[in-house]
């Protein structure tokens, strides 16, 4: 009898535990009650894809609640976990956040599931929102990033090089030769910190550096080469060959110990320590003024004469799930574009604001240079994010082979064309 009573008790306890779990999960979905009891738009869940700013977003959520009474729950995913993949699991489990992060080329996957944010107040203060031809305004730009050839302005100055003249292949060639001749004097290990290692840095070569072929020199809304690419994987042969020659120059003057086998940490550390005059990364590689003891700047990938733009724009966007709390998401976006939220995002998270009316200047050491380009309208779009998913894993290997000397410039251009067309065909 005792055993039976015990069994019933244990079974009951198990049922209570499981039922308890169910009810806890369910309680999050209700409309949030504010601390002051005023009418609110309900709780909003945000899936953040940048783990490095998680604590700042938690602070943002606390401020949002304090100022509006609305609840924002920030869930962060990142590192080695793919946010897009995780979101699909969340969707299948009927556990979608109200706001989540996407890259521009992922919009099609969520076709019909994203809210149209057209006409919201914040859209009047930025030109960086994500607009889809069929879904309308779908993406809130929470930051702007830029990528080009980052340089150590102090080193260039000491070598007598004017960065503003770096707008052609020949100018770069002369610049690299000068720096190379003065390496010891300037304390450089190599002219350039460029790494074509494909296994861990394929995103850099395959997406960002390759993106220069697509956009360098074009206006922000010019989609000539991405359209060509997405039309069955076509490339402009002449432009690709010029790009190849420029990459060849980079290969010649990069640190041999970094070029093929290096890591992101080695590349960035080398630049921060003043061992490289140039680096092939964006403003994310040096985020704090404390990281460097010199002035930073950006120079264009001038593989064709006259190229004078850097690539700038939001690398990803926050979107509102149309079956979630859209009103809550819209309210948050409008608040987030405002002064108090921008203060946290710019001054504490180190992001660059995409909003014209933001009064805060980013602390990022590259910001000054970025702003110069953006103000002069000399920036191109991030259309590399619109290429077919996974293409970077193919192109990065071609960069690596070129860096190892297995291909020459013509070989690089033709191989690139072949692997891209094959990738699109399959």
């Amino acid at each position: 009898m005792k055993k039976k009573v015990l069994s019933v008790l244990l079974a009951g306890a198990m049922a209570a535990c499981l039922a308890g779990c169910g009810s806890t999960a369910g309680s999050d979905n209700g409309t949030a009650a504010s601390s002051d009891g005023s009418a609110k738009v309900g709780a909003v869940r945000l899936l953040n894809g940048k783990p490095e700013i998680d604590s700042q977003l938690q602070e943002l959520a606390a401020l949002y609640k304090e100022e509006t009474g609305n609840i924002l729950t920030v869930e962060t995913i990142g590192g080695d976990t793919n946010a897009a993949d995780e979101l699909k699991k969340m969707y299948q489990a009927d556990n979608m956040p109200d706001i989540f992060v996407i890259e521009a080329n992922q919009a099609g996957t969520w076709d019909g599931l994203l809210a149209n944010l057209e006409g919201e107040a914040w859209t009047n203060n930025t030109g960086f929102e994500l607009v889809d031809s069929s879904m309308g305004t779908i993406g809130f730009p929470y930051t702007v990033e830029a990528t080009a050839l980052g340089y150590n302005a102090d080193v260039l100055k000491a070598a007598g090089i004017d960065a503003s003249t770096l707008t052609s292949y020949e100018a770069y060639k002369t610049c690299f030769e000068t720096l190379d001749a003065k390496k010891d004097e300037l304390g450089l290990t190599a002219v350039l910190g460029w790494c074509a290692e494909p296994a861990n840095l394929g995103w850099s070569s395959g997406t960002h550096v390759f993106g220069q072929y697509l956009d360098a020199g074009l206006a922000a809304d010019d989609t000539t080469y991405i359209d060509l690419l997405n039309d069955g994987g076509k490339v402009d042969e002449a432009r690709m060959l010029n790009f190849a020659k420029f990459i060849g120059l980079m290969n010649d003057y990069s640190d041999p110990a970094l070029l093929v086998d290096g890591t992101y940490d080695q590349q960035v550390a080398g630049f921060k320590e003043g061992k490289y005059a140039f680096i092939t990364q964006g403003n994310w590689c040096v985020t704090s003024p404390d990281d460097v003891a010199f002035e930073c700047g950006f120079a264009p990938y001038a593989f064709e004469d006259g190229i004078d733009t850097i690539i700038a724009g939001p690398p990803s966007y926050w979107v509102s799930y149309s079956e979630g709390n859209v009103a809550g998401a819209k309210a948050f976006f409008n608040w987030c574009a405002g002064d108090s939220a921008q203060n946290i995002l710019v001054n504490k998270a180190g992001l660059v604001s995409p909003f014209d009316d933001c009064q805060y200047e980013a602390v990022n050491p590259f910001y000054k240079s970025m702003k110069t380009y953006i103000d002069a309208n000399k920036y191109s779009g991030w259309h590399t994010m619109l290429k077919k998913d996974g293409l970077q894993n193919v192109t990065c290997v071609v960069f690596s082979d070129y860096a190892q000397g297995k291909l020459d410039a013509e070989g690089f251009a033709t191989t690139m064309a072949q692997v891209i067309s094959s990738y699109y065909a399959n």
């Binding site: 009951g12 198990m14 009810s23 993949d85 299948q92 996957t109 093929v260 086998d261 082979d401």
Partner: protein, 356 residues
């Protein structure tokens, strides 16, 4: 003859009926997304009630079977939810254009036809087979030699056994990154110093990177297989070895004519384990090379997935390239190949054991 009381019958049928109603009702509410706070309790309570009712079912003849079913149910349920249902769903998805979110249409065998037209996929199949062959031989050879060493009379046996087994306790991802550091930062420094010119990591060249993966895999897995061989070698009766020694058998004769035939079942287990494990190679592959590496001319194509094994190819197709249905089709193909190879291998090994 004993009979069941009416109260027992009513309790049993009542609990089963009520349990079924509650469970189904809870599921319906879950599908309709209603009553968040109660449906979990309804489902769990319903299931418990149903099984209590089943336990009290008025039968002597089938009572033992009912108890067996109740005890087996959690395991069978978990197996069905985690293996059978995903397998069936996966096969179904492979005939659609599922993108991980929605199924927009049924496309028949298109995914299966498409995957065999991908040179990169065919290359992955080819190198996976090569990898399996290399590993079955090398892992078993190294493991067996280590087992012989660890069953000999040398000093510090415990230390050696632990040392050889230790790599198996480190996860494949961590192991991959450790060896990547060794290949890229340690080995290159040594070779650069020796050659007096900049040398690149063996991971940057497809052929040598493949060898690198084999080395890491053998290093990781040989210790585990060694333990099984040690167990096998320890089960050989001492009197047989003693008799062979009295008959004047040399150590080599003892090894090939006594020990190896007598551990044939162990060899079967080890080759089976090595085969399936090598086929499913993923984590070391991901961490060490991420499948990169060029192949200049594979049926006229320049491939960029030189070291990408089948499992990684499936993962990349689905998750990185966002083609979940195509990935599923490849996974179904993978499952069929693995099932056939495993069955054939076990059958052949068992037959050989009988002959031995």
């Amino acid at each position: 003859m004993r009979e069941f009381s009416t109260g027992r019958k009513i309790t049993s049928f009542g609990l089963m009926g009520l349990g079924a109603i509650l469970s189904v009702g809870g599921l319906v509410l879950a599908i309709m997304k209603l009553l968040d706070n109660f449906r979990g309790a309804m489902i769990i309570g319903g299931v418990v009630m149903f099984f209590v009712g089943l336990y009290l079912f008025p039968t002597f003849k089938h009572h033992r079977s009912i108890v067996n079913v109740i005890f087996l149910f959690p395991l069978l349920f978990a197996f069905a939810v985690t293996v059978i249902v995903p397998l069936v769903l996966g096969i179904g998805y492979s005939f659609t254009d599922w993108d991980g979110i929605r199924v927009r249409g049924f496309i028949g065998l298109e995914n299966y036809i498409r995957m065999f037209k991908q040179p990169g996929f065919l290359w992955s199949v080819l190198i996976t087979v090569l990898f399996v062959v290399f590993n079955i031989i090398l892992v078993n050879l190294v493991a067996f030699l280590l087992a012989l060493l660890c069953t000999s009379k040398i000093k510090g046996l415990g230390f050696f056994r632990a040392a050889y087994f230790l790599p198996n306790l480190i996860g494949g991802i961590v192991l991959g990154y450790i060896w990547q550091f060794i290949f890229s930062n340690v080995v290159t420094k040594i070779t650069t110093a020796i050659m007096q010119e900049q040398t690149y990591s063996m991971l940057s060249e497809t052929k040598t990177a493949f060898i690198g993966i084999v080395i890491v895999y053998v290093w990781q897995y040989a210790g585990y297989i060694m333990l099984i061989y040690i167990t096998g070698l320890n089960t050989i009766p001492g009197d047989v070895l003693e008799a062979s020694a009295i008959d004047g058998a040399s150590p080599t004769q003892t090894l090939f004519n006594i020990k190896i035939p007598m551990i044939a079942p162990t060899i079967t287990i080890c080759t089976f384990l090595t085969l399936t494990s090598a086929f499913k190679q993923f984590d070391v592959n991901l961490a060490l090379t991420n499948g990169t590496g060029s192949v200049q001319n594979f049926f006229g194509n320049y491939l960029t997935n030189g070291t990408q094994m089948l499992a990684l190819n499936i993962y990349n197709t689905a998750v990185i390239n966002d083609e979940y249905a195509l990935g599923q089709a490849k996974a179904v193909f993978f499952f069929i190949v693995l099932a056939i190879v495993s069955i054939v291998q076990v059958r052949v090994s068992n037959k050989r054991e009988v002959e031995l």
